[in-house]
């Protein structure tokens, strides 16, 4: 099966990457980067939609493949740099509007890939886990630029340090996503395609001009921040914490469901229970 595809229709470029478990290894990353570059160069395309896959949008680097390597640290580092390049390609798509359409959940680098897009729509039941700490990593993929810019410094602190998963509803409140689109997968796809085609055909120049103004500061910070992220990531990749987190990950999920998504789903269930019991909600905590 061809996992990564690109199709342009009515000025909209559709990039699908239904990668198994959303776990992207080096070759997936390189292929996706190539596809995004292709879309960026396609004059017929004004708006790009990143569809991810039906089950997962993306879960970042493939820890199973990494864990089985002779030197896991080096492969992890290579893999996350390759994912960085993808996020970079999205962030620097100055002549296109980029939409991410989250039919499924995302975690770690996959969240950053999603929020690197200009507009973000999601289905109701998705979970975002923007934290890397559960995996023994401090994070890369421009999180230190994107998260503070989108949700503010305070919420970034909470998400990153607590490694808290976020439901679609919370993600919407925080601004990580812009709209929840309910309904069947087909309706979701039709709905977003219609939106994209409208944006692509109506005053796209004005939208792109606004984008260049809005992203000006963010783009200027990218180079310094990514260097810092990579420097710290390299240390993390070589730290025993990463090895044991990886070990637990591979052992527990038996190459099936990524551990953090199990954890995220569990946490959210528990939180919903608690919310039912008393009204100690996420935003109430954070507004204090």
């Amino acid at each position: 099966m061809q996992e990564i595809s690109y199709q342009a229709r009515n000025n909209v470029g559709h990039i699908k990457f239904p990668i198994h478990n959303g776990a992207m290894d080096l070759s997936h990353c390189r292929q996706l980067l190539h596809t995004i570059e292709l879309a960026k160069e396609d004059h017929a395309c004004k708006v790009i939609i990143l569809w991810g896959g039906p089950d997962f949008f993306s879960n970042g680097i493939d820890l199973n493949a990494v864990h089985l390597q002779y030197n896991a640290s080096i492969l992890a580092y290579k893999n996350l740099k390759a994912l960085n390049n993808i996020v970079h390609a999205v962030l620097t798509a100055n002549t296109k509007l980029v939409i991410s359409a989250l039919q499924g959940s995302a975690s770690a680098g996959g969240v950053m890939l999603a929020i690197a897009a200009d507009l973000r729509y999601a289905r109701k039941n998705i979970v975002l886990n923007p934290s890397y700490a559960n995996l023994g990593l401090c994070g890369s993929e421009y999180w230190s630029v994107l998260l503070p810019a989108i949700i503010g410094y305070g919420f970034t602190q909470k998400l990153i340090y607590e490694a808290s998963p976020v439901s679609a509803a919370e993600a919407l409140r925080l601004g990580l996503i812009h709209q929840i689109i309910d309904g069947e997968p087909d309706t979701f796809e039709e709905n977003i395609t219609a939106k994209a085609e409208y944006l692509a055909s109506t005053n796209i120049n004005a939208r792109l001009a606004a984008k260049s103004v809005l992203n000006h500061h963010l783009l200027a910070q990218m180079e310094t921040q990514v260097k810092l992220e990579l420097e710290k990531m390299k240390d993390c990749c070589n730290h025993p914490e990463f090895e044991s987190a990886r070990g637990r990950f591979v052992e527990k999920n038996g190459h099936q469901q990524p551990l953090f998504l199990n954890a995220a789903a569990g946490n959210i269930q528990q939180k919903n229970k608690r919310d039912d019991q008393d009204d100690n909600t996420y935003e109430a905590n954070d507004n204090t």
């Binding site: 390597q69 002779y70 580092y77 290579k78």
Partner: protein
């Protein structure tokens, strides 16, 4: 100042001459004055030895760093191969022959030296030719030559095999080919390396052309260098000049030993005897096309195919606290390892880098107190 040049027919002592060293140091300082901080990596244990012994880092401006890469053949020899060598040495009727440096290198459970104490048959030879003589002398005994080293050693073995060896002599090949590992180093160091000093002897075999990909793919200059202070400073000066002018050639600063095209006869022999396959560099990674492997037509000499050399235990490259793999990649200094000079010393080495005189930890341990005045 008129730039100094070194002529081929130079008095050998001149390569240590303090005045020439001073002039080169001055030229390097002038060149570096208007340059941003930069890192050059060398990939030769002999260079690390010379650089530390002659305190060359102290001659360089603080913002010009020369860091050590995976240049010691003993250090990069995969633990899997030493485990195999130990298994063979313990087989009845088999004698393992090898160079002395590898004996004390810790492998998964023990070292070859310990295997010898435990009744294994291990003999040190000084040249592969000794292996031929021993095998001819005792035709009843099975001998295995455990070959560790880079292009230079591999070429010697290839020559030997090419010209025929006794029936009772086999080879356990753990030789590594240097050029592909530079790609890995570029990946690990991102854009923080600005140039490479190429190994003196290994390049004498391969010639300079095998490093052209550094110019074409990475736009980074490389220079070969000899082993005396003047050789090394000269190569550094040339590299800085290239970096400054944004040039990316592979240049030869050791032309009294290295021909640009290398040793054509040795190259032919190597091609005839070996294939290049993916190979593990101890604790570092598996590197494409970097392991010399005997060609199928020489399978009858391959100890891995002809003798039972698979150990019954899984390999472990390093003691959990040992940072050898990162020292070899130039990511950390020996001093960053908690065991350096404490639990780990040349008489009680924890990792391979503390064993061989070309290993970075060993070199730093041996010469750590040397200052410029003692040159």
């Amino acid at each position: 100042m008129k730039r100094m040049t070194i002529h081929k027919k130079f008095n050998p002592d001149a390569f240590k001459d303090r005045e020439i060293v001073n002039r080169l140091t001055q030229e390097i300082k002038l060149l570096a004055a208007r340059m941003a901080p930069l890192k050059i990596m060398h990939i030769c244990g002999g260079h690390e030895n010379a650089i530390v012994r002659y305190a060359i880092r102290q001659f360089l401006p603080a913002h010009i760093k020369v860091i050590a890469g995976p240049g010691c053949p003993v250090c990069v020899c995969p633990v899997e191969s030493i485990d195999e060598a130990i298994t063979l040495a313990l087989l009845p009727g088999v004698t393992l022959l090898t160079f002395g440096d590898i004996l004390r290198v810790p492998a998964t459970n023990s070292s070859l030296e310990e295997a010898r104490v435990n009744g294994g048959s291990v003999k040190v030879v000084y040249s592969p030719l000794d292996a031929i003589k021993l095998a001819q002398h005792s035709p009843q005994q099975t001998f295995v030559f455990f070959s560790v080293g880079f292009e230079t050693t591999a070429a010697g073995i290839a020559g030997l095999i090419h010209s025929g060896v006794p029936e009772n002599l086999f080879f356990l090949i753990a030789n590594r080919y240097m050029p592909p590992v530079l790609k890995l180093l570029m990946e690990v160091h991102d854009d923080s390396l600005q140039g490479f000093l190429l190994a003196g002897h290994a390049t004498a075999i391969t010639g300079l052309g095998v490093y052209d990909f550094m110019r074409d793919e990475f736009k980074l200059p490389c220079a070969t260098a000899g082993f005396e202070p003047v050789d090394i400073l000269l190569a550094i000066r040339e590299l800085l000049t290239l970096i400054k002018n944004d040039q990316h050639q592979v240049i030869n600063c050791y032309s009294r030993v290295i021909k640009n095209e290398g040793n054509l006869i040795a190259q032919k022999c190597l091609k005839e005897v070996f294939d290049l396959k993916p190979g593990v560099w101890r604790g570092i990674d598996k590197v494409e096309d970097s392991a010399y492997v005997l060609k199928d037509k020489y399978a009858f000499l391959d100890a891995r195919k002809q003798l039972a050399c698979k150990p019954s235990y899984p390999p472990q490259a390093h003691h959990p606290s040992c940072l050898c793999h990162r020292v070899m990649l130039g990511e950390v200094e020996p001093q960053d390892c908690k065991l350096f000079k404490k639990a780990c010393t040349p008489s009680k080495p924890f990792g391979p880098c503390m064993v061989s005189p070309e290993g970075t930890c060993h070199v730093r341990y041996s010469y750590s107190e040397i200052k410029i005045d003692s040159l």
